[in-house]
């Protein structure tokens, strides 16, 4: 299992591995927002938590189509399915590797991008906390979407259509935490909901992902 994680991390950092792609996308989207809505700092600070959450979500989506498709194309997925590792742990490790190479950098970059959008000072802590709790769910849900569409030509587009609705609860409660936090209000309720959604997806979805992967490999 560790070997698979290390291999996936190594592949992500090597040439063409796609590390930094999501991060660059996140940066560009955030930089473009003031151009489109105007530079009034009061407006920007109102919408900053929502924009940062949406940007992180879309950046997460960007690298999902490579998550299992590359392993499927070169035959590794067939070989992993016949290896002693259960497919459930294969998809969990894949999701973890995706989070480490995409989700975690987004969490770490978010406060710096918050400066660009004039995010209110109390918001930084809650933005990082909400993204830290929310992005693992996005990787796990995304892995499920990738397992559903593996083997399809141009499956990336279908993947986005399938996964985006599933991201809605995470987005609602995650952005709510960041928004309430930025205005200095109580964040406990949405934070608990967000944590609950993440815990449930991590606990349940790997089984669903492994099941659809088995069917798709036939």
């Amino acid at each position: 299992m560790i070997a698979l994680l290390l291999r996936d991390l190594k592949l992500a950092f090597r040439a063409g591995g796609g590390f930094g792609l999501g991060l660059a996308f996140f940066l560009i989207v955030t930089v473009l927002v003031p151009f489109s809505v105007g530079p009034q700092s009061s407006l920007l600070s109102t919408i900053a938590p929502g924009i940062l959450w949406l940007g992180a979500l879309l950046a997460c989506l960007l690298s999902l189509d490579r998550l299992l498709a590359l392993d499927w194309e070169d035959g590794s997925l067939d070989l992993l399915a016949t290896a002693p590792l259960p497919l459930e742990s294969v998809v969990t490790i894949k999701a973890l590797a995706h989070w480490l190479t995409t989700g975690l950098p987004l969490v770490l970059a978010a406060p710096f991008l918050g400066v660009l959008l004039n995010l209110p000072v109390p918001g930084y802590f809650w933005l990082v906390i909400s993204l830290l709790i929310g992005t693992p769910a996005m990787s796990v849900i995304g892995t499920f979407g990738a397992a559903l569409t593996v083997g399809l030509k141009r499956g990336g587009l279908l993947l986005s259509l399938l996964v985006l609705p599933l991201y809605v609860p995470t987005l609602i409660f995650g952005a709510e935490v960041a928004r309430l936090g930025a205005t200095g209000m109580e964040t406990q309720t949405p934070l608990l909901m967000l944590a609950g959604i993440t815990a449930a997806t991590i606990a349940l979805l790997p089984f669903a992902s492994a099941a659809v992967l088995r069917i798709n490999l036939r």
Partner: protein
Amino acid sequence: MTLTVTELAIARGGVPVLERLNFALQPGKALILRGPNGIGKTTLLRTLAGLQPPIAGRVEGAEDKIAYASHSDGIKPTLTVVENLAFWSSVFGANDIQPALDAYALNELADRNAGNLSAGQKRRLGLARMLVTGRPIWMLDEPTVSLDKNAVKMFADAVRAHLGQGGSALIATHIDLGLDGEVLDVGPNKAKPKPIDDFDGGFL
């Protein structure tokens, strides 16, 4: 451990391709699978490897014993030859990769990125993977594609050594490898696609 196949029927894409397959694969033996293109050799190997369920019949003695080599080798182009092999070795429980490198003369290529290898060299790397799995039953799907004469000999030697250690191999191939083993001819006479009426009957 003997692999026993009883009254096996397999399907590709929902269409039955082979029916009533019966054979046993003893330790130390190779079984050469022959038959025209499209007859279901790959489907049979995938079914035995557990990648797809059979539509009827039983496979015994296959659980966690099979190392499967498909048409594609599962090679990551941005990893080196050694990194590719070491990965599969640790997935299957950390076997030494040096014998595998020696068997397929990959030592000179050890630090090259696998993406820069030729088709035949990639195939050799894919076949070397079988040696690091430590699994007793090899399932090889057209293993000699794009191999030169010398590499075919390396492959035959590796299979012979594997058989000598009590392993067994089921090989779908169109060429003569000079191995000691039976030939299982799967022909059109064994492939009996069911009439469509039967399928409808099943649904109603």
